[in-house]
């Protein structure tokens, strides 16, 4: 009740803002916004602004240099010339002066009469903006003030605005908000010539934005020496050209929060109407501004907890809603009823950084829309230092970690976990929150939780490798060393790997490092090199027990060993050096056809742009044209289109890709094989025709859209919309699951007669490298929707898939014919990933089962049925009538397992 009164009084106090805005006639401009690249990270120690530089550069191609911005939260008082208390308690007001002559007027009207200013200064910049390569427009001068509202001014405000019942701190916050609004109205939105606007006014946070790329902000405002716990950045891609001032760039502010956004709303108008009803009037006319206005409304005005704010923004729908506990359903239903008009509709992804003043903590929040239409990746790394990251692309996360690790080896180059959020879901709510909070011992800790406050953590009992000191070398027994060489010569790499993996849990880091070093030394022998590479690669590809060691440290060490091995391979020159030749960006002009002894081209992707005339993908195509057949591609930093452009009939070509591969990998391949040793990004294997794609990790959005064929093995999960519109004969195994919309409009013929299918195993690995089932093999509400051909075989021993998830497909008994069809693929899956048919796939709760008890078939429904209501079909299934050949036993199972 109290909250409600507060809320109403704040809303009422803003009524005059609307009158003031209305008094000025402005042309109504609809939100113009393209897509963008967003990135952010939060760390339990303050880190320099230069580390937001790398991921920003990595996502250049997501912006067009017409708007870049960043925000920092959790600052360091010494760098700002204030003490800790001022930083904690004062509002940090930053005003961008587009026209510097406005300063006196601005201060006269909006600063001096209202505020006690504890500190003020212009933000330091480089002397000449033209010294920053590519920066075309002078960024605004920015003046920073640490302010508190003067008691007399506040008293007057409370009286005039009828806010006497509001607690003092809330009234002061509202004062700041309204003062900023009026400044922006007077000096920005009402004018043809924009003169000044407020960049940020929250506590312990600041925002800077320019016409240019985000990393140029860091350069121009000299953020190299500026530390913060949270950094977020945004590359903007406005489609309207000739942008001459940065007002429209992200981040946008609420009060103590900064928001960057990728996507756009279909219902911008409706959302602004919703806000108008609550006396909130956008001034910058972008959908990002209204996003954060909604957040501020729900947070500060209505006083909602974060979970409800997320629910209001991205409502839980369909089957996910049914999975919620009854109590949550009751509350969510009310939230949806009240705020559905303020819920952004369309593709969007928000990253929010905020100071949570009340709870004395900093938060980094990522929220995706219900349909997950924008790319998003989350990651966490914990150890001596702790960091959480949210980005549009995984490769930007890796770039951040690399940048941090280079400076401070307490950071690792690989995160403990990478994952995607499932929008509007009952599983994670489509949002993750990283919180930095001081614990009792005075140390700051990072906690990651989802919308429902379920924590995501790293294995506590496994310690990452301390790389701040050089690892001492351990002595390897000579018998062991000789054994290594012998086994490598023999060529049983798989067997050697198993025996090493068996020893690994007992080894310490220095012993492990010494083994890896030894392997690298052995690889100097050309005859052993291939096997050493395969062996080291298995440490990246497989899951295995690591004892007290953290998996990511092993991955980092194996990766570094591989890099160092690759880098010792001689660069291509006029003579053949051996079976391996290396090429890199600097020497790309020296690419030439292979000599007969040369078998493998090791191509270093470092410094190659992600696309365009000088692309890395083109280097590979050119090399292929010259006669190279085997490629090791490493050092990738999101370079796109790898494997594209080789054309038809490329059997016998093999590409092994390491590190952060980019979008569209293997799209359109027709015969060749690509192995991705790690997670892959978005849009893999579009229109893939033939050939083989193996991903030792997760794949991103719209995987194999419109594919025609090919054999594909994915060790982990697929994000949203995999295999949409696939035709022909794609044959795919996903060992994890997919977020949603798997195989929508699948048209891949008759699976028993040359058509295509997908096998979903619904598995994952625990911290000890053991295969375990996921909670459900498929959590989404849309499976095989509107499919007219092909099939899905899903490992579902507990019968968790229900007909409500199908929108046009039907569940059929899994019979002998199905098993015969998928067995060869499961065998290859076992060979590639070590996921055993007998020990893992067919064993349930320790008991060996028949394939028909473990797998289920989902088939297409004939068109005539599809044309009629899908509801009646589902009912048919539920009542158990009239599906031919369906043994009763299935129904019994289903009931039994449901009870369990």
């Amino acid at each position: 009740m109290k909250n409600r009164t507060y809320a109403q009084s704040i809303i009422d106090s803003r009524r005059h803002l609307g009158d003031e805005a209305g008094a000025i006639s402005r042309p109504r401009v609809d939100a113009e916004e393209g897509g963008c690249g967003v990135t952010g990270f939060v760390c339990n120690i303050p880190v320099s602004g230069r580390h937001i530089f790398e991921p920003s550069v990595q996502m250049h191609n997501r912006g067009n240099g017409k708007g870049g911005g960043l925000a920092a939260v959790g600052l360091t008082p010494a760098k700002l010339g204030v003490d800790q208390r001022t930083l904690d308690e004062d509002f940090l007001l930053q005003v961008a002066l587009l026209d510097e002559t406005v300063l006196a007027e601005m201060e006269e009207r909006f600063i001096r009469p209202h505020f006690r200013v504890a500190h003020e200064a212009f933000i330091d910049t480089v002397d000449d903006y033209r010294d920053i390569p590519g920066l075309e427009m002078k960024p605004p001068a920015v003046k920073r003030y640490f302010v508190r509202v003067r008691p007399d001014a506040l008293a007057r405000f409370r009286k005039e605005r009828n806010l006497l019942m509001l607690p003092e701190d809330k009234a002061e916050e509202e004062f700041i908000y309204q003062n900023t609004y009026r400044l922006n109205l007077a000096l920005y939105s009402s004018l043809g010539e924009k003169r000044a606007f407020v960049l940020s006014h929250g506590r312990d946070m600041m925002i800077l934005k320019i016409v240019g790329y985000a990393e140029q902000v860091a350069q121009y405002y000299k953020l190299d020496n500026f530390d913060a716990h949270i950094w977020i950045a945004h590359q903007r891609y406005p489609t309207k050209g000739r942008v001459w001032h940065p007002g429209g760039a992200h981040p946008f502010i609420g009060l103590d929060e900064a928001l960057v956004h990728n996507g756009d709303f279909a219902n911008y108008y409706s959302v602004t109407e919703y806000l108008k009803q609550r006396n909130i009037y956008p001034l910058f006319l972008t959908d990002t501004e209204v996003s954060v206005q909604i957040f501020d409304l729900l947070n500060r005005v209505y006083g909602y907890p974060l979970e409800y704010i997320i629910e209001a923004l991205a409502p839980t729908a369909e089957m996910d809603f049914d999975h919620l506990p009854e109590e949550k359903q009751r509350i969510y239903r009310r939230i949806q009823a009240a705020h559905i008009h303020g819920s952004p509709d369309g593709p969007w992804f928000f990253i929010i950084a905020r100071t949570d003043v009340k709870n004395r903590q900093y938060q980094l929040i990522g929220i995706t829309d219900t349909a997950m239409l924008r790319p998003q990746v989350f990651a966490i790394q914990k150890g001596e230092v702790e960091i959480g990251l949210i980005c549009s692309e995984k490769q930007a996360i890796d770039a951040t970690l690399e940048s941090l690790a280079k400076e401070d080896p307490r950071f690792g180059t690989i995160a403990d976990h990478y994952w995607n959020a499932r929008g509007g879901s009952y599983t994670d709510g489509g949002a993750f929150i990283f919180t930095v909070r001081e614990s009792a011992n005075g140390r700051k800790n990072l906690i990651c939780s989802d919308k429902f406050d379920r924590q995501i953590d790293v294995p506590r009992d496994q310690r990452p490798c301390d790389l701040t000191k050089k690892l001492p070398l351990a002595k390897l027994e000579s018998a062991f060393q000789a054994g290594l060489r012998k086994e490598l010569r023999k060529g049983d790499v798989e067997g050697l790997f198993s025996s090493l993996a068996k020893g690994l849990p007992k080894w310490d880091y220095s012993y492990t490092g010494s083994v890896l070093n030894r392997l690298r030394d052995l690889s100097k022998d050309d005859a052993l090199k291939g096997n050493v590479i395969r062996l080291l690669t298995l440490f990246l590809d497989r899951y295995y027990p690591t004892g007290k060691k953290r998996r990511r440290s092993i991955l980092q060490m194996a990766t570094e060993t591989l890099h160092s091995l690759f880098n010792t391979v001689p660069l291509l020159n006029d003579n053949a050096a051996g079976r391996y030749g290396r090429i890199n960006f600097e020497r790309r002009q020296h690419l030439r056809p292979p000599f007969p002894v040369e078998e493998v081209l090791i191509a270093d992707a470092g410094n190659f742009p992600p696309e365009g005339d000088d692309s890395y993908a083109h280097l590979v195509t050119e090399a292929y044209r010259m006669g190279w057949k085997k490629f090791i591609c490493f050092g990738l930093r999101g370079q796109r289109f790898l494997g594209c452009g080789l054309g038809p009939e490329t059997e016998g070509i093999r590409i092994d890709a390491y590190d952060s591969t980019g979008d569209y990998l293997a799209s359109g391949i027709d015969g060749l094989e690509i192995y991705v040793h790690g997670n892959a990004q978005d849009q893999l294997g579009q229109i893939m025709k033939r050939g083989k794609l193996v991903v030792y990790g997760d794949v991103g959005q719209t995987f194999m859209y419109g594919a025609k064929g090919g054999e594909v093995y994915v060790l982990g999960n697929a994000a949203g919309r995999p295999l949409i519109n696939a035709v022909g004969r794609p044959r795919v195994i996903i060992n994890g699951t997919a977020l949603d919309f798997l195989a929508e409009s699948f048209m891949a013929g008759d699976p028993y007669n040359g058509g295509g299918f997908v096998i979903v195993n619904g598995l994952t690995f625990d911290d000890r490298g053991r295969v375990i089932p996921q909670d459900t093999p498929y959590p989404g509400s849309n499976l095989f929707s509107l499919a007219s051909g092909g099939a899905i075989f899903i490992r579902d021993p507990y019968r968790k898939i229900v007909p409500e998830q199908l929108n046009g497909g039907q569940i059929l008994p899994f019979d002998e014919r199905d098993w015969e069809l998928i067995l060869p693929y499961l065998k290859e899956n076992e060979r590639l990933f070590g996921i055993s048919i007998n020990r893992h796939l067919l064993t349930v709760d320790g008991k060996r089962r028949k394939p028909g008890d473990v797998y289920r078939t989902i088939g297409a429904v004939k068109l005539s049925v599809l044309a009629s209501s899908s509801l009646s079909m589902n009912e048919e299934w539920v009542t158990g009538k009239s599906i031919e050949g369906m043994p009763d036993i299935l129904f019994h199972h289903s009931t039994n397992y449901n009870k369990i």
Partner: protein, 503 residues
Amino acid sequence: MTGFHFPEIKNAPSRFRNALGKYRITITRACTNCGLCVEICPYGVYQVGSKRPKASCEHLCLGPSCSKNDFYCAERCPEKAIHIRLNPSFEVLGDRRWPAELLAGTWHMAETGAIPHQGLNYKTGDSGGGFDKIRFILPKENGNDKPVTDGDISTAIELNRSGDSRPKVTIPVPLYLGGMSFGSVSIVTMLSRARAAVALGTFCCTGEGGYPEELMDYDDNVITQVATGLFGVREDTIKRVRIVEFKYAQGAKPGLGGHLLGDKVTPRVAQMREAVAGSALFSPFPFHSVYSVEDHKKHVDWIKEINRKALVSVKVSTPTDVDMVAVGSYYAGAHIVQLDGSYGGTGAAPDIAKKNIAMPIEYALPKVHKFLLAEGIRDKITIIASGGIRSAYDMAKIIAMGADGVCLGTADLVALECIRCHHCESGRGCARGIATTDDELTDLMELEWGTQRIINMYSAWRAQLVNILKRLGMRSVAELVGRFDVLAHMDYIRQEEIEGELD
């Protein structure tokens, strides 16, 4: 554009026994078979018959307006046995956008390569708005002081104006033939269009249905389409062409994607799209991998990576923010933006969508043209208008409103004797054997004939365009782009108010 020779016009008469014409001629029993009518009619309406002459080409007849001529057969017939009256079929033929006269006029051009002499309105329809209300303001004939001859006038346009390192592609006529997939039209229709495109030095788009092997001989003149279903899109088809087109939406059915109903999915269609015969095929809307402009750029970059010489065209419909879409496409690296207005679409596009969602092309084009001018990038991108271009006059008008050229679909079908019955979607049964995949119906049309019909029609169009340019004193079609001053809307300007003549 030097060294290009326009194709020869050859007569390609109707493939049906009775071509549809405006007039119907009856010869009564009073006829003595004297043969005078056969002899005097300069249009060859009559043929000698055993009992009496046959009016086998009555569609060439001038009708009663011939009465002022001394060869007016009805008057000259000694027995007054010839009766000429309006063909009753003509009254029910066509619709307001494609009235019977425009259909018959187009058939005439496709048959003869010449402007209809019968007094048919072959320039505009009867929709009561848009093109049909817009006229050129032409100076009085010979009224301008810098006479130009036909040969001096260039109708060529450049498709790559970006200044990038990709090849220049010039087409001698400001038009190419838009996407109609195999499946929605027959293979003969498809090949007729492709071969006509080769003869005219221009392009023909595959549509979204794969790249039939038969088209491979014409690779240099084919635009292959990458549409939202990605049907039949393969690296090798992208690699073999000079232009790749992204179809984001069709003006006739924006937001609806494509659909090919089960009946049309014959084994051959299914094979080409690698789908299931007899099952309806859906192209989603939008591209599932493209939900923003930076996704779009990535998509364009992908195609550019596969084919490093091809130009990229982006086909979009005309929503209210079409100007943003165009500028976004430019910044994403497209060479051509094709704006598809709301009038296009075959009978298979749902009626509810066809005229109710997108903006008419006459509104969209000026908006985009002016916006790109203000951005300073108008001369870096080629704008192609489509969706309701029916005649040479529509083409010239839309160029004057800011397009560089046009893209055609329905007009080609009319050239092949489509009667606009709007039943394209109903199974394989196109009565004219055009929009069909049925083997027997496909055989209704011969390839040579189809090719020539399309060549003839566009040759006639080009002649009309040259004539308009000549009268406006222009030497090149590029000079016409964005010349709103040479257009008049009849609701606002009357003949008396202008100097010159409204055409």
